[in-house]
Amino acid sequence: MHAVTDKPPGWLGRSVERLEDAALLTGAGRFVDDIAPPPGTLAAAILRSPRAHARIGAIAIDAARRLPGVAAILTGADVAAMSAPLAAGIKAPLECWPIAIDRARYVGEPVAVVVASDRYIAEDALDLIAVSYEPLPAVVDPIAAMQPTATLLHDKLGANIASDRSFCYGDPAAQFAAAATRIAVSVRYPRNSCTPIETYGVIAEYAASDDAYDVTANFMGPLSMHPVMARALRVPGNRLRLRTPPDSGGSFGVKQGLVPYIVLIALAARLAGRPVKWIEDRLEHLSASVSATNRVTKLAAAVDADGRVRALDWDQIEDVGAHLRAPEPAALYRMHGNLTGAYDIRHVCVRNRVVLTNKTPSGLNRGFGGPQVYFALERLMQRIARELGLDPLDVIRRNLVPTGAFPYRTATGGLLDSGDYAGAIERAVAQGTLAELRARRVNARGQGRLYGIGYAAVVEPSISNMGYITTVLTAQERARAGPKNGAFATATVAFDPLGCVSVQIASTPQGQGHRTVAAQVVADVFGLAPADVRVLGELDTARDAWSIASGNYSSRFAGAVAGAVHLAAQRLAAKLKRAAATQLNVAPDDVVFAGARAQARDNRDNAMAFSRLAAATHWSPGLMDAGDHALRETVFWTPPELAAPSDADAVNSSLCHGFIFDFCGIEIDRVTGAVRVDKYVTMHDCGRVLHPGMVAGQITGGFAHALGAALYEEFAYAPDGSFLSGTFADYLVPTAMEIPQPLMLHMETPSPFTPLGAKGVGEGNCMSTPVCIANAAADALGVDQVELPLLPARLAAHFHPREEFPKGTTAATAVAIGARQGDGAMTLHGRGVVEIARVPQDVWAMLLDAKTLAAIIPGAGAIEKLSETHFRVDVTLGVGPVRGDGHALVL
């Protein structure tokens, strides 16, 4: 079990040069904004709600409509008349539209779309639209949103809880009664996103002659959203042609969120009678693309005195924002089969609630559900160690799924395919020199420094079961709807008449290098070089093989798609061998491929070039033996292990489960509270490694995103629902200056369930790293509670001396001269209202653009003109590079 897979001869397992890079490095990539749109294409701009919650009265569009260059303006009324709501994954009286209809429920929600001859004019027109908002109370905290008195987001639902399900596996109640102790954590996971460099882009066209839409978008799938969009557009599936561009500038799940915008822009094209293009800008992206869910979790364990966990009790409250957009609440159920993480825990109960708040709707994001689950689970393991006076690593070791127990069926129905968790940890401890790190901690603490070590053991699921989301339904509801399960991966491999190989995949790559790995796979089967194989990554739903599971998510490429490529290539190879066998007069099994030739195993001179063989099948099929000789194979592959949820709600939510063990040493600056990651070790077992360079790239990128989540990034909202993270000066993404290089270690236990033995590796550090760093911070400070992101100001509050008011002042006067926040309490967002009679000229000039200010600056709420010289301004602090305005206006 400990053995690293022997490297097979061939291209797989080698870091071959990426086929994608020449174009990308020379500026020849073809992203959605590089594609020449059809002649006559118009530009769209979207008017967005500055209010977190308001009834929408009149929308006055006449002035905008009169602006030269404006072709059409789409509002909620048009969308309601032309389309249907986007279908949701659960049965609840909720309507999800791509635009606000009569009511805005989050800052940034589309209110109108202007279509004009160019984007400048479209944005000019936005300024001329007057929307009458009747403010409603907003609710941003999921716990507050659950209260019976909370303002309702969706009146028909009658509450803000869209789903409330409880599950029980084994006999957790008995275990809690019998265990020595009950240890619990209560944690909040913040909102964040992986913010791809390239934003959303859509080019949509409507052909009235066919009643058909043709859309090009940098959508990443899953293609289960295709029927959702076709239904929303009220056309049959075959009248929505969806295409993706060859290149996409990153996605990390986020480009699943294009769904409402594809519908919206398609409708705008229909209304305008012309093709319409919309490229999302960064302000739009941050406020209204998609966000990971924030989650409030209470997790309790029934624990023996030695730290052995007998049972878990999960209570998860998932905040999906203002709408339940498909495939949500998937983030809450993706991890359902592996809620016990890397541990052998047989008794689990779970309560899952899905809550609506006045925030951007949530959706796919790297790690999808994993960061939230593991933050609770691995904080709990550290808490157990702390309360029982044990070493946290010993608590982890004591609870691991035993080596040799694989495939291991978890209490909640997951099937952990392969692994050697204990072995991986021992290797990481040795190769990552944990002993030396512990000595460093002793030394640092001896000098009075704040130094901590954190651990995290994580099972990384990949290749989602398309049926896992139906776990949110009851068994009866599932029975009515019909079973959902599996995960179709598709690939097509073909020989052209010159004997050259082409491959088409439906994995909508977003920069990872899928084309290179597919070429490696095929090159190995046919004895070619990867550069001989042409791989198309762009998808056209009208022409290509695809299924609802197609797309780029749940780290499914290496395990599922590369596997489907392998199967298609093998099938084609068998055909080619049969054709060659006749010509070479040997048995098919004695045909081997080398140098673009088929040759007899024992006599390499008895050979025939691929070009001859392929030409024969194309030019003279009538001369060949009976049977199918066409040299084109399309494989649809789905693994039998991905069964539908059982009547008892057990679900194998993912096909593969990689293993990660991380540990790190961090130091917290005694003055500023800033965290410095001193050393980070991450051990991965992702099954068979197909391309070591890309695996390292995935780990490096995932680590960078996770470091952002741990230390910097948060979509913050003020209590009134104002959005506080509207620019990259407020939403802080770590740069090369902030990201240390982790030590990456590997071992390989191939998956028995995938054609190539590979598993996913793209998301694991987003699950392991935030909690590993949080555990280290808790260790450094010796505290129970740490909150992400680890803001220096929050950490410093633990050790900054208590502030005394200056001599000669009372508390009241000190606060008056100093600041206006409650002392000691970390109220990070100031807010207030002030009437301004006279302000300096510069600020005055900006105020005259009050409407724009309110619409664009996160934090700026209502700006009301009382008279020519009096404005009433309602501003929330935190506006990045222009935050001086906020300072000027806020008292």
Binding site: D127, A796, I817, G824, G830, M846, G878, A888
Partner: protein, 275 residues
């Protein structure tokens, strides 16, 4: 993120720039490096009717030592000043602070005077100007005048510049014998606007400490040569006077704590740097 419509005037002479500013007044904005102005235009936070581009004016694209100051013209980019020969000897505080101004990419475009004219309360160059007691040279079709840095900054993004005036140059006093200089800043990421920035100038008889990122403009205080206890008390009083605010990145109490601790450290460091 597309700017509203504006007119663009590329001044070929200083007189043309002055004339354009005189003609358009508050409707005009001077375009220099554009590192702040262009994003503000794109976000439609600023909507000037006219942009007056001054980057073709060779007469204000110079910098150099003039008597006991470094005079930096309006066309000089931050990266140019950073590469000035022996800047660390001519004015150590500038040499220490410039690497904290944005990023290498923005310094390559952004100008020194542009940063001063923009008057962000968290920006490093206004802080250095106040710490050193430098001056701003304003010119217009009407007149020329000099304003001390401390009087130039009147609030966040607000200055004493009149609508028709151009910040033609700024002057930073050169290093003086017996003086020591130190600079420290804390931001969440390198290159971000400071949560707290501290610049200190130590003399034989005391020190001057300027703080950025906390008040509505950079603020300087004189600290007499004093024992540690009274310095601590004086810094504490200063931290309260700065009128710190809460925001998404840091609380007011946290900012005061950093003013006290980093302020103290930076005065000590400047003291040790005295030569």
């Amino acid at each position: 993120m597309k700017p509203a419509r504006f007119d663009y005037i590329r001044a070929e002479t200083l007189a043309e720039a002055h004339a354009a500013l005189a003609a358009h007044g508050g409707e005009a904005r001077v375009l220099a490096g554009g590192q702040t102005l262009l994003p503000m235009l794109s976000m439609r936070l600023a909507r000037p009717g006219v942009l007056v581009d001054i980057m073709r004016l060779h007469e204000i694209a110079r910098y150099g030592i003039e008597r006991d100051v470094i005079r930096v013209g309006a066309g000089v980019r931050q990266a140019q000043l950073q590469k000035m020969f022996e800047l660390d000897k001519v004015q150590p505080l500038l040499a220490k602070a410039l690497p904290w101004v944005g990023h290498a990419q923005t310094r390559a475009r952004g100008t020194v005077c542009g940063s001063i004219a923009h008057a962000d309360p968290s920006a490093e160059l206004p802080l250095v100007l106040v710490a050193l007691g430098g001056e701003v040279e304003l010119s217009s079709a009407r007149h020329r005048r000099k304003v001390a840095g401390e009087e130039f900054f009147t609030g966040p993004l607000s200055t004493a510049r009149a609508d028709d005036e151009l910040v033609e140059a700024v002057t930073f006093p050169s290093r003086r014998p017996g003086y020591g200089y130190a600079f420290r800043e804390f931001a969440r990421r390198h290159g971000d606007f400071a949560i707290v920035a501290c610049a200190a100038v130590a003399r034989t008889d005391g020190a001057r400490l300027a703080i950025g990122g906390v008040g509505d403009r950079p603020v300087a205080r004189e600290f007499a040569q004093a024992d540690r206890t009274s310095l601590t008390e004086a810094l504490d009083a200063f931290s309260w006077e700065l009128d710190a605010r809460d925001d998404a990145h840091a609380s007011a109490a946290y900012r005061r704590a950093l003013v006290r601790q980093i302020g103290h450290a930076v005065i000590m460091e400047a003291e040790q740097c005295r030569v």
